[in-house]
Amino acid sequence: MVKVEFLGPMGIEPIEIEVSNLKELSKILKENRDISSWLDKSAVAINDVMVNNLDTTLNSGDRVSILPPVCGG
């Protein structure tokens, strides 16, 4: 199982799903209306390391974070 958390203003509870890479995760998240509108502009971290490759493998116990647009300062 992979845990997916939605940070900052997304206001969505974490979910746990069975996926083996980010491409699969993308397909599943796009089916959720509340989530899909954020995906175009959100970055992704696996276990707190930012990732840029959709082929990245996911292992059971991994934690995926969805990071919407930021504005610190």
């Binding site: 940070l7 900052g8 203003p9 980010l22 995760l25 993308s26 998240l29 796009k30 995906l39 175009d40 502009k41 959100s42 970055a43 992704v44 971290a45 707190d48 390391v49 930012m50 990732v51 840029n52 959709l54 974070s65 969805i66 990071l67 919407p68 647009p69 930021v70 504005c71 610190g72 300062g73």
Partner: protein, 144 residues
């Protein structure tokens, strides 16, 4: 890296960083102090921070600065910060003026673009995500 609930004690932080480095022989110290502006009827801004990714981001900057013989520091607020008080201080120490001036610019700009911090306007006690002033982080859209 220092995170605080509410407004920063700007003078304490400025002075403590100065004292800590007072004998490190850095010729230039440049803090950047960010203060909440009164505009659009807000009483405060409010911040969420995802600390683990912020720490990774900051640690990379510590390394980048070190390669140039410099030091970076950072303090930020979590939660509500009233107008006319400070939510953010970054600073650079360097032996060289030009390195310090260049580094504070790069450090603050990358902070604005890639630090995992979310900002909300506080209007009539309500917290509204500052979507129009927010920037997608580097690599955003991967799952879109």
């Amino acid at each position: 890296m220092e995170l605080y609930n509410g407004s920063l004690d700007t003078k304490e932080i400025f002075g403590r960083w100065l004292d800590e480095q007072s004998h490190s022989n850095y010729g230039a110290y440049i803090p950047f102090v960010g203060t909440i502006r009164a505009e659009d009827g807000i009483s405060a801004l409010s911040f969420d921070i995802y600390e683990p990714v912020l720490q990774v981001w900051f640690d990379k900057w510590v390394e980048k600065a070190k390669e140039r013989g410099a030091i970076v520091k950072m303090a930020h607020s979590i939660g509500d910060v009233e107008v006319h008080t400070s939510s953010y201080i970054s600073a650079v120490f360097s032996p060289q003026r030009k390195v310090a001036l260049s580094l504070i610019n790069e450090f603050v700009e990358d902070f604005k673009a890639n630090a995992p911090i979310w900002k909300y306007d506080v209007i009539d006690g309500e917290r509204v995500y500052a979507q129009d002033r927010s920037t997608p982080m580097s690599g955003a859209g991967l799952l879109g």
